[in-house]
Symmetry: C2
Subunit: 110 residues, 2 copies
C-alpha cells in the first residue's frame, strides 16, 4: 500500500524515526547547520543561504518545526527561527546510548 505502519511500533521508535526523517534531507541539515553557525535566531536570510526557491525552503522549515527540531516565533514582519535544543539532546542521548552499548558488549561475531 505505501503508508508507513506507524501503529505497529513503539512511541519511542516513532519519535526517533520522526526526528531522523526530518534530518533526512540535506537542505534541512543545511538549515540546522546554518542556525548553529550564526548562533542566533534567524529572521530572514535563510532563503538566501539555500539553493532552493522560497516556497521550498518554507516547506522544509515547516517540516523541521513539525518534527520539533526548530521553534519559530513571529518577530515583526519576519519570523524568528531557532533550534530546539531538546530535540538535539534526544538524538545525542539516543546515539550516545547505542554507541556505549556497542563498545561495552563487543560481540565477536562480525
Amino acid at each position: 500500500m505505501g503508508a508507513t505502519k506507524t501503529e505497529h511500533f513503539t512511541g519511542k521508535q516513532n519519535a526517533i524515526a520522526g526526528l531522523a526523517k526530518a534530518l533526512g534531507h540535506p537542505a534541512r541539515v543545511a538549515i540546522i547547520e546554518y542556525l548553529i553557525k550564526v548562533d542566533a535566531c534567524i529572521c530572514g536570510d535563510i532563503v538566501n543561504e539555500l539553493p532552493l526557491a522560497q516556497p521550498t525552503v518554507s516547506q522544509h522549515l515547516k517540516e523541521l518545526k513539525n518534527a520539533g527540531l526548530i521553534k519559530g516565533e513571529v518577530e515583526g514582519n519576519a519570523i524568528c527561527y531557532c533550534i530546539d535544543e531538546k530535540a538535539i539532546e534526544k538524538l545525542q542521548n539516543y546515539f550516545g546510548n547505542i554507541s556505549a552499548r556497542l563498545t561495552k558488549k563487543k560481540s565477536t561475531c562480525c
Copy 2:
C-alpha cells in the same frame, strides 16, 4: 521536479542526511534496536520480530545496508547482519558537536 537536489549541498550534509534518512522509518529504528538488544549478528529471526512481511523487511535491511548502518555477511543459508559502529559514531559525534555548540554559545534570543 521532485528529486532531491543533492548536488547543491556539501558531502557532509548529504552524508548525515543519508544516515538520518535511513533511520527515518520506525521499522528501521526497530531493526537497529533489535540488533543491539540481542548483542549479536542476527542470522534469522529479524522477520519474526517485525510486524511486516518478509519482502518488506528485506527491503528495509537493504536500505540500512546501503546507508552503511549495518553490515551483512552470508553465513550458510542465512545472512548475518550487524550494526556498523562507524555510522553510529558519526551520528553520535555529529549531534554531540551540535549539542556542545548550543550549550556553549547560548544565544539570548529565543
